[in-house]
């Protein structure tokens, strides 16, 4: 495999590394996500959430969605997660605060999650999907196409999102203000 890489055949080498990269990012994503379920410490949960978001960004990279992967890292891992960590810090009396749940509640939640996964796997197995043949997959979704789509067919959602962000900014500042 690595000899193929060294020969530098770009389209072939990507197909060679793709399974390993997939296993790496998928394992990181799913493993960290389930560690959030298991973990009891809120700070560790935030740390595992960071790994999950990073793994999802890696999967976006693998699907040639480079712009989206960058946005995922900047907005999610850089913005939303910092917000969550600040929320954790502002709402805990001590750094080791743990709100314990009964063990059977955790087991019940995990069982319900696994049941949901099984149901969706069954539904997926019974759904016919016509995939693009692997040699005709789009090589890249470049930023130019995304920009034209944002200011073309998706102009109205784009502007509504801008107004929504303004409303959220004012609303959050109003809600979190310290009362006199």
């Amino acid at each position: 495999m690595f000899s193929t890489l060294a020969q530098g055949n770009p389209s072939n080498s990507l197909a060679q590394v793709a399974p390993i990269l997939y296993l790496l990012f998928a394992g990181l994503t799913v493993g960290s996500a389930w560690m959030i379920v298991i973990s009891q410490n809120i700070v560790r949960m935030a740390m595992y959430l960071l790994f999950t978001l990073g793994g999802v960004a890696g999967l976006y990279f693998m699907m040639n969605a480079e712009f989206l992967a960058a946005i995922q890292l900047i907005v999610y891992a850089g913005g939303t997660l910092i917000l969550i960590v600040f929320g954790v810090m502002l709402t805990s009396k001590n750094p080791f605060m743990q709100l314990h749940t009964m063990w059977w509640e955790r087991v019940l939640a995990i069982a319900l999650g696994v049941m949901l996964a099984v149901i969706m796997v069954i539904a997926l197995a019974n759904t016919p999907v016509t995939q693009i043949p692997s040699d005709q997959l789009p090589q890249s979704h470049d930023v130019h196409t995304i920009g034209m789509a944002l200011l073309g067919p998706f102009l109205v959602p784009f502007e509504v999102a801008a107004v929504l962000l303004l409303v959220v900014m004012i609303g959050a500042a109003f809600m979190a203000r310290r009362r006199a």
Partner: protein, 109 residues
């Protein structure tokens, strides 16, 4: 090499990740008492949805970027939702001195 060929990523591989992510998010929402922890579960579910959109865009749709657009707006809405939710939690913590969602039963009849 055959085992690696099995993991050559296709639509179903990505959907497996997405399904497990969704299940983890539901389990987090059900099993946590900390309001910020529940918010993390919501973020997991939104990520699973975004992953699905991008996977279908890449493996089923043609070269258009409609699925990526949906994921972009999902990320924007997730950021907005996290900001408002944390403002509400902060307000709740200032008034009740706890972040346990079981204590938030003032509106119960």
């Amino acid at each position: 090499m055959t085992t690696l060929a099995f993991f050559q990523p296709g639509l179903y591989h990505l959907m497996a990740v997405s399904i497990l992510l969704l299940a983890a998010g539901v389990a987090v929402i059900l099993s946590k008492r900390n309001a910020v922890g529940i918010l993390m579960g919501v973020e997991l579910i939104l990520n699973a949805a975004g992953l699905n959109f991008v996977a279908f865009n890449h493996y089923v749709w043609d070269s258009a970027v409609n699925g990526q657009m949906f994921t972009l707006f999902i990320i924007v809405l997730a950021a907005a939702e996290a900001a408002v939710a944390l403002a509400i939690f902060l307000n709740f913590y200032n008034n009740f001195d706890t972040i346990n969602v079981d204590q938030a039963d003032e509106l119960q009849g």
